[in-house]
Every structure is written in structure tokens, then in C-alpha cells.
Amino acid sequence: MANGTFSRTVVVTNPQGVHARPADMFVKLASQYESKIEVIKDGERVDGKSILAMLTLAAVEGTTLKLEGTGPDAEAAVAALAELVLRDFDENEPLTNK
């Protein structure tokens, strides 16, 4: 299996942005993969397996993030992480009750 670099661009759509809980979920998921995961916002690049670094991005609703994976399982990792962001970190369901 080739060590490739895969990337995908997603927009944060959950109203509260990537706050502590979503960042926690993101990092937990990213850490399940062997590949190096990086998240890029406006040219700022941080380690996707570090919750502190993710929080410093201050990715609020509407922020465009580029997810980049490098390593043996990069393609699967990027796909799963993009999916998580697009699912609004599973936060959208309680919102319909509001």
C-alpha cells in the first residue's frame, strides 16, 4: 500500500463550531489512524491529533478547513474525518428540539 497524501476541504456547519466536545471527537477519531493528520485553516496548519492545537484554530461555524492525511491509511482517515465534520459532529439532532 502506497504512502500517499490525501486531502479534502470541508466547511464547519454546526452552530457552535469546533468547540471542546467536537474537537475531542475529531482527535479521538484521527488517533485511530496510523497516518499523520493535519488540519489547515487560512494557511495555519496544526496537528489533527492534538486537541489543544485544534482548539487554537478557533474554527467557528462557516470556517473552511482542509483536512490532510499522510500515510498508509490516509485516504480512509480523511474520508472518516470529513464525514464527522459534515455530520456536524452528531450535534444536529438535539438542535431540532430547540
Binding site: Q16, A20, D24, V27, I51, T56
Partner: protein, 578 residues
């Protein structure tokens, strides 16, 4: 490098390692570890991370069980932060490459994140800042374990940085190793200010928040002359301050030469220079500088440092040690000047403490407490020239009540056959405008007056000196304050009652010409300022001072007054004006 402007409350410059006090009283120990201890220190760090992780996990489980999983999720994020691999790499680098202690590295790294979060204009990260501090505390608690130290156990020189030092914290400090203070809040006259002055170490208060930007062990400069706190100073700044420190020493040597000479004006008028003290050991500072007596011995610390109310023996011991050291020179001891909240823990909180139950009002309301102090004072009067002073007298009735309690105590002691000075002089502080307005009556009933400029200024201008928003109104050089001071002096002179002045104003050489010109012949000052004030006294003549005072009294605001006084002082003693 980061510079913070605060209020200078005690002069001088201190440079040293920071001791950061937060609400848990943490002191973060020395910043470096030995090269061969690195592996051991890293192991210690990992143990602390593991232990802290277990604690957080236990919290998470408990909260999830009681409140549901969504609440436990907060702790899950905490745990993630604690175990963040990027953080671990950063800590590893700090300990391995820079030889920081794990404590220092943790504090340094996490505070940096906190700062980044704080700088982000988004409220959702505000909570994260507290998470970071929470993790820092948890890690430090685990790292320090039983080695966590109390302020009283400081064993190397430090500068103390705190939000606000409580009187009991300052009272319990190990003085030997504290080189300076800086606090986020407070003003001139705050306890930090008074203690620093007493210890003769530099202090800056009211800088606004900065504690989150500094870690224990950082190099910090406290400039008590300019009111600056400098965090992580650069080489150039350090060099400049080192140079200034050397100059300071040479000026002190110059002033030292004045020690044996009397405070006498150039035209031969003798000025009495007294020292203000807080603790008996400060008598030494006064004697060393050739003070003529103690003009204000504040007795509050007898109450503050102790776990329980001091008994008569404790009072007596303190007073006797001061009397014995001063021999026959006068010692003016002020009775308790505390607020009710400081004396009794169950006192109700009042909304306006400076206008509430404090000082002589508290003494008169709590007679057993007052009598204990008075008995000790009267007994100590057998040892020398002890004089009693009542603070915060507002009405004639209060003065008479206080004197009555004193007479009663004397009578008791007489009956017990205890020896004391039956003629011991009794005076009052003039610090409430009401007392100044009635001063012609007061002078008939006291042996001496002492003008307390700090409170007089605050009550006259209705401005709290520790409130940043109105501190600008607070100035002892305000013409209204000066008129009250002049009124008091005129009334006292008429009846030939000696009048003294104490408070920040008397210790500031800027005001010496004015105060002598207004007719004062006795100044009570912080011991550290005795040489400087003496130098001014010995340089000027009384007519010269009177001209200055006459002109000052025509001016309309404190700024003009200060500028004029600065110019006048520059003419006579240029080396004192920067």
C-alpha cells in the same frame, strides 16, 4: 518582554525569580533540573499525567453516572487535553533540551495555550481557558505532592506576584527572602503597600491582570519608582536596571553620611523626624537612620498575623520591645485601626467598609478588645516616652469616650499596684474632615495631633485610592486637602499643641518644602525616606518654605501644585528630582 504599568507604592527596584501566588497558594519551585536528572524528571511528569488522568476519569464516570453522558463529555475533553501528544512533545523538549523542571514546563506550556485562547475573539474558547488552568493545577498538585510549599517556607530570594495579598498572607511571609511585591489590584495604602514599605522593598500594585502571563521562576523586574512590572525582561533592560541599582547604592551611601546630623533647616530650625513602623523589628531601621522617635506605630499586625485575638501579654511584649529599643525617645502608638471584617470572622459584610465599623469605632463598640490593648499600652508607658493615639476620631464624643475608657483602665492598674506614667500623652489622628472642621474644640482635649493624609484625602475627595476608576481624584496635593491641613495646623499652633503629619505625603520629599512652609515641625515618615527628607530639611530655610507654601495655596488643582513643587525641589536638591 512585557511591561505593565501599575501604581508605585514602595520605592526601589527588585529583580528576581517570580513566586506566583494563586488562590491555592502555589509556589512553583526552581526552574532548572540537573542534566543527569532529566530521565527521572520525565518519569515524574508521566506519573503526574497518569495520576491526573485517573482523577479526571473518575470525575467523568461519577458525573456521567449522576447527570448523564453529555455532562461527562466535558471531562472527556479534559482528558484529551491532558494526554495531548503535542503537549507531551513540547514538555519533553522543555525538560530535555532546556532543563526546565516538569513543574515549570507544565506551567509555562499550559499558560501559553491559555494565552492563545484568551487572545481569540470568540467566547466559546473563554471556558477553555479555565479548563487549561484546571489541568495546570491538577498536574502541579500531582507533581508537587507533599512538596507543595507555603509562602512561609520560601527558602530562596523571590519577587512575590499575586492577585491581591491578604493581610494574613503578608504577615506570614518569610521576609528574609522576599525582594519585592506586585499585585494585580490594590492601591496606595493597601496592605501590600504598607507591608512593602515596612520591609523597605519595592512594590507595585494595581497593574491589572497579568498572572496568567507569568510562570513561577520567570525573571521579573519590579520597578517601585516608576510603578512598572516587567515580565521576561530582555538583556538590554536587565543591564539598564543593574546599572541603576549600582547608582542607587552610591546615592544611599551619600545619604548615609547624614545619619548623625540633626534634621535642622539651613536657618537653624530643628525639625523632628519620626519614623512610621508596622513591626517592632523596624525600630532598627529608624534608629539606624537617626530618627528622633516613632511617630506612628501601627498595631494592626498584632491582630492580623495571629490565629486568635492577641492577649495582653502579646501586646505588651511588642510594645515593650519597641520602648526598650527607642530608650527615652518618643514612641507614638496608635490603637487598633482595623475594619470589623479583619478582626472577627463572623462580622457581617458591609457594603461600604471605609465608612463603616472600623478603627476607633470598632474599639469603642468592642470594649473588652480595646481594654486589652490599652492595659498593655499603659503598662508599657513605664518603660519610656510612650504616647497613645486614637485613630479615625470623627466627633468630640468619640474622643471623650476613648479617653474615659483609658482613664478607667488606668484606675484599674493603679488599684492593682502596677506602675505606669500617669501623665502619658494622649493624642488623636486628624483624618476625618469633620474633625478638622471642629479642630478648635479638639485641641483643648488632646496633648498632640497627628494628621493622617491618606484617609483625610480619601474622605475629603470621596475617592477610594484603590479603585482604578476614581484613583485620579485621589491626591494629597489637592487644594481642598491642603486647606484642611492648614486649618488643623493653625488651630494647633494657637493652643501650642504639637502637630505631626504621617501618611504617604510626609514621606515624599516633593512635599517637604510645602509642609514646613505650612508650619509643621514634626514629620513622621517611612524609615527608608528619613535620609532623603533630612537632606531637604538641611538644605532649605523656613522663609523659603513659607514662600512656597503661600504660592501653593493660591493654586487650584493638584497637578499644578505638584508641578510647581517639583520645580521648587529641583532648585534646592536637584539630585532628588528625576
Amino acid at each position: 518582554m512585557q511591561k505593565l504599568q501599575g501604581i508605585a507604592v514602595s520605592p526601589g527596584v527588585a529583580m528576581g525569580e517570580a513566586l506566583v501566588m494563586d488562590n491555592e497558594g502555589f509556589r512553583i519551585p526552581r526552574r532548572f533540573v540537573a542534566r543527569d536528572a532529566v530521565e527521572h524528571e520525565l518519569e515524574r511528569l508521566d506519573q503526574a499525567i497518569r495520576a491526573a488522568g485517573e482523577e479526571i476519569d473518575a470525575n467523568r464516570q461519577a458525573v456521567s453516572r449522576e447527570l448523564g453522558d453529555q455532562y461527562g463529555a466535558v471531562f472527556s475533553a479534559h482528558l484529551q487535553m491532558l494526554r495531548d501528544p503535542a503537549l507531551r512533545i513540547e514538555l519533553d523538549e522543555m525538560i530535555r533540551q532546556r532543563h526546565y523542571s516538569p513543574e515549570y514546563a507544565v506551567s509555562r506550556a499550559l499558560r501559553r495555550y491559555a494565552k492563545v485562547f484568551q487572545s481569540i475573539e470568540s467566547s466559546y474558547l473563554a471556558e477553555r481557558v479555565n479548563d487549561i488552568f484546571d489541568i495546570e493545577k491538577r498536574l502541579l498538585r500531582n507533581l508537587l505532592g507533599r512538596r507543595r510549599e507555603e509562602l512561609s517556607q520560601v527558602i530562596s530570594p523571590v519577587v512575590v506576584l499575586a492577585h491581591n495579598l491578604t493581610p494574613s498572607e503578608t504577615a506570614n511571609l518569610n521576609r528574609e527572602f522576599v525582594r519585592g511585591f506586585a499585585t494585580e489590584i490594590g492601591g496606595p495604602g493597601s496592605h501590600t503597600a504598607i507591608v512593602a514599605e515596612g520591609m523597605e522593598i519595592p512594590a507595585v500594585v494595581g497593574t491589572g491582570p497579568f498572572l496568567t502571563d507569568v510562570s513561577g521562576g520567570d525573571l521579573v523586574i519590579i520597578d517601585g519608582d516608576l510603578g512598572l512590572v516587567i515580565l521576561q525582561p530582555d538583556e538590554e533592560t536587565i543591564a539598564r536596571y543593574r546599572h541603576e541599582a549600582a547608582e542607587h547604592v552610591s546615592r544611599a551611601t551619600q545619604l548615609e553620611a547624614l545619619k548623625e546630623l540633626p534634621a535642622e533647616t539651613a536657618d537653624g530650625v530643628r525639625i523632628e523626624l519620626f519614623g512610621n513602623i508596622e513591626f517592632p523589628h523596624e525600630v532598627r531601621h529608624c534608629v539606624e537612620r537617626g530618627s528622633d522617635g516613632i511617630g506612628l506605630y501601627r498595631t494592626e499586625f498584632l491582630y492580623l498575623g495571629a490565629a486568635s485575638e492577641p492577649d495582653e501579654a502579646v501586646h505588651y511584649e511588642a510594645y515593650a520591645s519597641v520602648m526598650n529599643e527607642m530608650h527615652d525617645r518618643p514612641v507614638i502608638i496608635r490603637t487598633c485601626d482595623l475594619g470589623a471584617d479583619k478582626v472577627s470572622h463572623d462580622a457581617e459584610e458591609t457594603r461600604n467598609p471605609t465608612l463603616g465599623l472600623r478603627s476607633i469605632r470598632l474599639s469603642l463598640k468592642n470594649l473588652p478588645l480595646f481594654r486589652v490593648q490599652l492595659r498593655a499600652l499603659v503598662r508599657a508607658s513605664a518603660l519610656g516616652d510612650l504616647r497613645i493615639m486614637f485613630p479615625l476620631i470623627s466627633t468630640l464624643l468619640e474622643l471623650r469616650q476613648a479617653k474615659m475608657v483609658l482613664a478607667d483602665v488606668m484606675e484599674d492598674l493603679d488599684e492593682e499596684g502596677v506602675k505606669f506614667n500617669h501623665q502619658l500623652p494622649v493624642g488623636m489622628m486628624v483624618e476625618v474632615p469633620a474633625a478638622v472642621l471642629m479642630i478648635d474644640h479638639f485641641v483643648d482635649e488632646v496633648d498632640f495631633l497627628s494628621i493622617g493624609t491618606n484617609d483625610l484625602t480619601q474622605y475629603t475627595l470621596a475617592a477610594d485610592r484603590s479603585n482604578k476608576d476614581v484613583a485620579g481624584l485621589y491626591s494629597s496635593a489637592d487644594p481642598a486637602v491642603l486647606r484642611l491641613i492648614r486649618m488643623a495646623i493653625t488651630a494647633a499652633d494657637l493652643k501650642q499643641v504639637p502637630v505631626n503629619i504621617c501618611g504617604q505625603m510626609s514621606g515624599n520629599s516633593l512635599y517637604t518644602l510645602l509642609l514646613l512652609g505650612l508650619g509643621l515641625r514634626r514629620l513622621s515618615v517611612p524609615p527608608s525616606t528619613i535620609p532623603e527628607i533630612k537632606m531637604v530639611c538641611r538644605t532649605v530655610t523656613i522663609p523659603q518654605c513659607q514662600r512656597v507654601a503661600d504660592h501653593v495655596m493660591t493654586l487650584e488643582n493638584s497637578r499644578d501644585i505638584k508641578n510647581y513643587l517639583r520645580d521648587e525641589l529641583k532648585k534646592v536638591v536637584p539630585q532628588l528630582v528625576s
